[in-house]
């Protein structure tokens, strides 16, 4: 299901790649950000487009909404303004006008020109000075907010890039340009916000259901009692795990049903998959349980150990 962005011509009224950028770069009163180096995957993200799932439109949005909200507060934006979600290899940007940025999330190195800057603080950026977000020491993703927000054209109420359906702007590319909105307010008067290193082991609270009855009792023992490993094919759609397979009590196919954020779906091979922000709206494999808070997975690199706990079993 990954990579389903249409390869061929888009329908007449779908947003064409880059059109949002070209359309509003001139009108945006806050200026333009130039992408000097996009990195492996840098996307525009806000709080997503909830409310359209009945039409097959995924929620999308920042994988750690709290980190994006914080970055926005630090630069004086409304919490839901669009920023950049930067993956592992970092990125390099240049703002044509003087502005304020803030980076949150992983403990990445940040430079404004040659000056090192801190994660979790507002950083003043002189006009034309490059802003470099480096690879994080631990963790996987950073969020960068700029005063005024990234001002690409919203699609169904959101500027988020949905990597599953292709809605929203395409991922950033080297040499690309994005419009920046007019600054809304002064940067927040905070001194410092804590950045904690990403743990080598992620513990996730799981609530069983809705299809726990599709699994055997030994399957649930394995789910709560053994360690899983995050695999490299994980992405914004889902965190794919490998470990003890979960045997089913019921064979056959489950008719497609609606999915929530954090749903742990178990395909035929028995290896669990935790759905993240770009998850499909419906799915045909049984969901054994739902992870209460998926945000730790936003910082989990491939190879990270994942354990589940819950009120039913395995709680401390």
């Amino acid at each position: 299901m990954t990579g389903t962005r249409p390869a061929g011509p888009q329908p007449p009224n779908a947003p064409a790649a880059g059109s949002a950028v070209a359309g509003s770069a001139v009108a945006g009163s806050g200026g333009v950000v130039e992408v000097r180096r996009a990195g492996m995957l840098t996307t525009v993200q806000d709080l997503g487009r909830p409310g359209w799932a009945h039409l097959g439109v995924p929620r999308s949005g920042a994988l750690d909404p709290g980190a994006l909200r914080l970055a926005n507060r630090l630069v004086g934006n409304p919490e839901g303004a669009a920023g950049l979600e930067i993956t592992l290899t970092g990125c390099e940007l240049r703002f044509r006008r003087a502005t304020t940025v803030a980076v949150t999330g992983a403990d990445a190195s940040v430079h404004v020109g040659e000056r090192p800057g801190d994660v979790g603080r507002p950083l003043a950026v002189p006009a034309g000075t490059p802003v470099r977000v480096g690879p994080p020491r631990t963790g996987l993703r950073s969020w960068l907010a700029v005063a005024g927000g990234i001002a690409v054209e919203p699609v169904l109420g959101s500027r988020a890039t949905d990597t599953l359906s292709g809605l929203g702007p395409p991922p950033l590319h080297d040499g690309g340009r994005l419009p920046v909105g007019a600054p809304a307010g002064p940067p927040a008067p905070v001194d410092v916000t804590p950045t904690v290193p990403a743990p080598e082991q992620v513990r996730l609270e799981l609530r069983l259901g809705p299809r726990v009855d599709w699994f055997t009792a030994p399957a649930l023992d394995r789910l709560f009692g053994t360690a899983y490993t995050l695999t490299p094919v994980s992405n914004r759609v889902g965190a794919r795990l490998s470990g003890a397979p979960l045997p089913r009590a019921v064979s056959g196919e489950l008719p497609s049903e609606g999915l929530v954020l954090g749903a742990v779906q178990v395909p035929a091979d028995g290896q669990p998959l935790v759905f993240l922000a770009d998850h499909p709206t419906t799915g045909g494999y049984p969901v054994v349980g739902v992870v209460v808070d998926v945000t730790p997975l936003a910082q989990a690199r491939p190879g990270t150990t994942v354990r589940f706990y819950g009120p039913q079993r395995g709680s401390r």
Partner: protein, 212 residues
């Protein structure tokens, strides 16, 4: 109908059949419209309706026990859950030239023109959307005419392809990989982010696949 908890903020209504799904879908959309139900998503599917974004699922579960949707009185089909777009049938003009028509004819044990005639004569209804924005699962074909998917999906199915799989008919709103059996093609735009609602075929909508 059985209510299953889903995480901390959602409920899954497990229904006995597709008609009960449609009755609950319509009832829940009406209740939300009236302000009786505070929920972010109401997602119908094959045998279930998912309510997501509930502040107090236990309270909602108790409320659901007091509501009684009657099949057949589903009434108007609000497109976004907000606008009443009426009960008109959406006519989709289809060129019946799909590459898999002979395969469908084989499964149904009839000639190709009979396949086309049956599709033209069927009144479909959008059971639910999924797979891609604006992709509608259409029910209405008689039981027994279900067809299997291709053993190997095509890497690219063109936008507007009209196709069959399992008990459903569907139309690909955008080009994508796909394993459904292709029976025809339409030029009708099915998903437009600037339209309200953005999907032409929303859950509950009646549909006819008329000859282009």
């Amino acid at each position: 109908m059985r209510i299953r908890p889903v995480g901390a903020h959602a409920l899954l209504l497990d229904c006995s059949d597709a008609n009960q799904v449609e009755a609950w879908r319509a009832e829940l959309w009406r209740r939300r419209e009236r302000g009786d139900l505070d929920v972010v998503e109401i997602i119908p599917a094959a045998r279930t309706v998912l309510l997501d974004g509930l502040t107090d699922p236990a309270h909602t579960a108790a409320l659901l026990g007091t509501w009684d949707p009657s099949p057949g009185t589903a009434g108007p089909s609000p497109g976004t859950g907000g606008t009443d777009i009426g009960t008109d049938v959406v006519e989709v003009p289809v060129r019946y030239d799909g590459a898999d028509l002979p395969t469908v004819a084989g499964h149904w044990d009839v000639a190709v023109p009979t396949v086309v005639r049956r599709l033209i004569d069927t009144e479909f209804r959008v059971a639910f959307c999924g797979f891609a924005p604006g992709f509608a699962y259409l029910t209405g074909l008689p039981v027994g005419l279900a067809v299997p998917r291709l053993p190997t999906p095509r890497p690219r199915v063109p936008a507007g392809s009209v196709a069959l799989a399992g008990p459903y008919a569907g139309i690909y709103p955008t080009a994508s990989p796909g394993g459904w059996l292709l029976v025809g093609h339409t030029d009708l735009p099915l998903f437009d982010v600037h339209a309200d609602p953005p999907a032409r075929l929303t859950p509950g909508t009646r549909v006819r696949l008329v000859p282009a």
